[in-house]
Structure formats: structure tokens, C-alpha cells
Assembly symmetry: C2
Homo-oligomer: 356 residues x 2
């Protein structure tokens, strides 16, 4: 399948299913819409899944990993080797995303979308959950030219689409997006500044904890990157290729897969939402299928969410990435589904005749 | 045990356990405190439970039910018979709190703290989860005099303390408070106005959905109730007896039980937080043991939380009560515990030498 076919195959969510779901909500034995956003969540899931018996029991998180040439500008507090080291940590189940995914009963898959080292799978522990889909050995430094070619940008999106499509075909009912990549708040901030049109300095935060000087270097690197590359905000592939990253393309692709196959996708924080901005630039209706798991402590995140008109489910000052905020929000979404499916109606409970 | 002994037996949470927990958090393989409020939650749980291996697996929600004489002032959109009808719905597992409790794996117990009808337990379905602890057949109309005597206020607190203590003795590790009582946002708003000192009109919302005229009647009834009764904001028993409710006393008592036995208590929304205001007026250190499950759509709730210096975990425009917001937040708290207990350290994961 080609990217154009995917984009043409995505349709806005059918409002009639949402309306039918709203009718059921109105019958539940509680004051009108007394569970607030839980109703909106369950009803939109009904719309996406085209059912009045929604299920999001089978969950997966797809953690996309990549390295970034922009790290040479001194934009990160951590050395680049950490990207690969964390992949091994994900595989043995020892990272934040693993804990939270166990809690919500989601499978974690890790994709090497383009980290610098070549992983020797035979030497890795528990490599059964690792997928290799390397677009390159890290991106180029986008402060001096495009991060990748337009072809590579398209390849990264197609790879994410394929990986997520396989999960949906295996029976996964809801997908969380995750990321790992030292330096990846830098391309994400660039994407946010270009596509969401937010002020650059407001978009740039400390990521994993860069100091004051590092923050200035980061702002400068992004400013230069945008000047040098002149990304076209109306062309998602152009933005991704010029100031993006391989894992961000992978995330954009997995979002397109959810929308294409009619499954919900929960985005995590800053990096995942940069991926959502790319997907949305390519195909605006994708946001119908998206849930914003949380609002990150990274200050620019709220501008991205507001551009996408997505209201975050959680707001817990998290800023880890990996997919943690999205995975945790699945638990709230599952509670919403439980309410929708299980609560008795006024009539069933015998409270019917006492309705005001 | 007498109330004075309970109040004397409650001590602030031991900071040294919290500090030891913070040391463990600092070693987890992620940027410094990158999971934000999840760390604060798990560390405070360590402090409350005096352990570095916290567990909140065994959960219960105690739904306190009561009726209110103030309903005669036309303050509610629903008829008073709904209180008893909802008790039966809780017992058969058909209400919002049942669905959410099944989702988070919490037991639901219902206490008749003082509804108007005498329940005939032999005619009720699934009455094994019903506890009868009737302080009276509904409170008196507090717009015309005290809602109950000071003795009844103390009895309601002691009943809540006993019920919750039994649960903790049975092995429950975390308790959620819940409420049912047509009209109970009215005494709760009165308690909020008196104890939190918030402006009365800002404290009074639409509850289950009263119309504009009902809202004015509600404001007037509370204004008159405060004038007639002159509750002393520094005396929790006085406030509870004059403008409170039996279920609100029960909630206050169950909060005291958590603090007394060193277990965490998650409060729900507007009514539960009124109970927390009473408990806090009686014994300020109880807030160390409290987690605010969510911020309600009822507009006065945030003033109550701010008086208690509690930051809500969720903010999903819920306003059902029953304990739903607190129960749903347990899922986030359990995620926080999972991260604290399970995530590898930098050293264990081999990422140690790459820390900046």
C-alpha cells in the first residue's frame, strides 16, 4: 500500500454511532452526564469502533526509538548511548513504560526506527519484543540541513503504519504510542513551532533536564534549523524530513494505522504529539481517532494539543515519554468503557419512575 | 474507644520514610522525577504505610448513605426516595461506583447512616454488602435549626470510624470514601462555606442538576441555615451537627480511621471533601493520609481542596459522587506504586555510567 492510498482511506468518525452512544449514556442510572469526560471518551470509542459494546481490553504500546544528529549541538543532558541502553531496558521489562503497561495490561513492543548502533539481536536479552525497521543510523543534524530525505520520511511513516497494522490485525483494540531517543524533544519542539505555529521560545523546554546554557543552545539550534531548512507547515512529509526524526515518523505512521483500521490511538506526551502533528498535517481527520493521554510538564506540549483540539485525559506533571502518559490514561479510558457497558439504566434499576 | 482518644492517637506522617522513598525514586532509570506527581503519590504512600515496598492492592469503597431534611426547601432535582432506591442499585452492582470499583478491583460496602425509610433487609437483593448504622431517619431541616444534635454528630463519626476500622482490620490497604443522599450537596456547600471560608454563592452549585430557581432556593436555604445556627468553624462537631449530614459524619469518621490505623484514604468529590473538612477541623494531621481523587465539576469543590492543601489526581468534570472519582484515582495511585516497586535502578539496568 502507498501513503496516498492510506491517506485517502481515512474517514472522519461516524457521528451516528456517537449519537447512539449518547442515547445510551442518557439512560444510565445517574444524573445527566454526571461522569463528565468519561462519557465523551466512551462515546467516541463507540464511534471509532462502530459499536455500542466497545472493548479496549487488548492493548499495546509501540515504543519507537531513534537517534538524532542535532545532539551534536549540545541540546541534551544525556549521552546518545542511552538510546540503545534503554532499548535493552524496555526488553527486560525494567523501564517506566513496562511498569505502567503491566499495570494496565498492555503489551510493549519496541521498534528500532533508526538508532545509531546496529543492535546485535543475538546478544540481547528478551529480544522477542524488538522489531528492527531502521531507516538510518540516526538522523543528520538539522541545524545544518535536512534531518533526512523526503523518501526516508515517507519510509519511516510507512514502517510505523505497517508495525501498528500488524498489531491491529493480531487483535489489539487500542494502541499507545511511545518514544525513545536522546535529543528528541528538540525535533519535536521544531515540529511544534512550525506546525502549531507556537512561539519558538515557548515551545522549547528542558527535555530530560538540560541546564540554562543547554536550553539556549537548544533554542538556537532549532531557530537555525528552521531558517536553514524552511519547512512547509502544510506539508507533513516536508516538516518531518527537514526537522523531524525517524521515531517521530514511525509514530505518525502508527497513528495513521489506527485511523485507517478504525481503532483508537492514545498519544503520550511531547514527542508522540509531534508525531500526531505530522499525521494531522498529512490527514486532518486522524484526530477523530486520537486520545491525548496526558499533558506533559514540557511547556510546549499544551500548544501542540491545542492545535490538534485534543483535551488531555491526565495532567500529572509527567515528562518521561516512552508512552507512559498514554498507557496510564488507558486505565481511565477502560473505566469509562466499563461504566458505559455495565451501569444499569434507570429502567433496569427500578429508579426510572423517580427521574425528575 | 472515644472520639478524643482517636483524635489524640493520630500523628502526622513520618517524614523519614518519605525521604527514604525519595532516595529510591532518584535511583530509578529515568530523568530526575520524570513521572511528576506519580512520585509524590508513591512516596507519600511509603510514608503512610511506613515501608519501601508499598501495596494498595486490597481496596474498598465505603458508600455512606443518608437523607436530608433540607430537601424540604426544594434544593434538589430528584425526589428523596432515590436515596433508598440507589442503595439497592449499589447492592446489585448496577451503579457507577460498582462499575468503576470492578475496574480497579475494589470492594464496595454500603452503609445506611440515616436514610428516611427503614430498609427491610430480608426483602433486599444481595444485602450482604449492606451495613446498617442508622443515626436517625434523615436529618432535620437545617434552614430552621440544627440538622442533628451534637451527640448524633459524634455518633455518626464514631460509626464511620468503626466501619472503616473493620475493613482495615480485614486487610484493606486503601479506602475510598463515597456518598449517597438526595440533597447532600446542600449541607456540603454549607460546610465548605463555613470551614473553608469560601463565598457562599461560589460554593453553591447545581448538584444533580437543579434549575435556576432551585439554585437560588439552595443558596437562600444555606444562607438562612448558617444565620439560624451560627456554626463555629473551629469546632468540627458543631459544624457537622448544625449544617451537616449523617453520611458526611460517617465519611469524616472513616477518614479518621485511615489516619488512626496508618492507611491511605482517597476522598471523592464535593460531599466526601465536606467530610474531610470536618475531619480536618477535628484533627489537622488527617490530611497527611488523604488523597484527593479528583476535582469535581461542582464549582465549590476547588475551594474545599485548596483549604485542605490537597491537589486532585484527576480532573475529568465528574460530579456523580458515590465514590466514583476516588475509586478511579486508585488506578493512577496503583500505577504510581507499580513504578516505585518495579522500575529498575540506573545500576540494575546498566545505564548507570551514562547518567549525566
Amino acid at each position: 500500500m502507498k501513503l496516498a492510498e492510506i491517506l485517502n482511506g481515512i474517514e472522519p468518525v461516524d457521528q451516528t454511532w456517537i449519537e447512539r452512544a449518547q442515547e445510551r449514556t442518557a439512560q444510565l442510572v445517574m444524573p445527566t452526564r454526571a461522569l463528565g469526560r468519561l462519557h465523551e471518551i466512551s462515546e467516541r470509542l463507540c464511534g471509532i469502533l462502530k459499536t455500542l459494546k466497545p472493548s479496549i481490553t487488548r492493548k499495546a504500546v509501540l515504543v519507537m526509538a531513534g537517534d538524532h544528529g542535532i545532539v551534536n549541538e549540545g541540546v541534551s543532558a544525556y549521552p546518545q548511548e542511552v538510546t540503545a541502553a534503554m532499548i535493552q531496558t524496555f526488553l527486560v521489562g525494567g523501564a517506566g513504560i513496562n511498569s505502567i503497561s503491566r499495570h494496565v495490561n498492555a503489551d510493549v513492543w519496541v521498534v528500532d526506527m533508526g538508532i545509531i548502533p546496529e543492535l546485535d539481536v543475538t546478544k540481547m536479552k528478551r529480544s522477542d519484543r524488538l522489531l528492527i525497521n531502521k531507516i538510518g543510523n540516526g538522523t543528520a543534524n538539522f541545524a545544518r540541513g535536512p534531518a533526512m530525505s523526503r523518501e526516508m520520511a515517507e519510509q519511516s511513516i510507512m514502517a510505523g503504519f505497517q508495525q501498528a497494522s500488524v498489531l491491529f490485525q493480531k487483535g489489539i483494540e487500542i494502541l499507545g504510542t511511545g518514544d525513545m531517543g536522546i535529543g528528541n524533544t528538540t525535533p519535536s519542539a521544531a515540529i511544534g513551532a512550525v506546525i502549531a505555529g507556537a512561539d519558538l521560545d515557548a515551545m522549547v523546554g528542558r527535555g530530560t533536564g538540560v541546564d540554562d546554557k543547554g536550553l539556549v543552545r537548544k533554542q538556537e539550534a532549532i531557530r537555525r534549523g528552521i531558517e536553514v531548512n524552511q519547512p512547509n507547515r502544510n506539508d507533513g512529509l516536508d516538516v518531518l524530513s527537514k526537522v523531524g526524526g525517524f521515531e517521530i515518523g514511525g509514530i505518525a505512521g502508527s497513528i495513521l494505522a489506527g485511523a485507517f483500521h478504525n481503532y483508537p490511538v492514545v498519544i503520550d506526551g511531547f514527542i508522540s504529539t509531534a508525531g500526531a502533528l505530522i499525521a494531522n498535517a498529512l490527514c486532518p481527520p486522524v484526530t477523530d481517532y486520537l486520545f491525548a493521554g496526558h499533558c506533559s510538564a514540557e511547556p510546549g506540549h499544551r500548544f501542540m494539543l491545542s492545535h490538534l483540539k485534543l483535551e488531555p485525559i491526565l495532567n500529572l506533571e509527567m515528562r518521561l515519554g516512552e508512552g507512559t502518559g498514554g498507557a496510564l490514561a488507558m486505565s481511565i479510558m477502560e473505566g469509562a468503557v466499563r461504566v458505559f457497558n455495565d451501569v444499569l439504566t434507570f429502567e433496569e434499576s427500578g429508579v426510572a419512575d423517580k427521574k425528575p
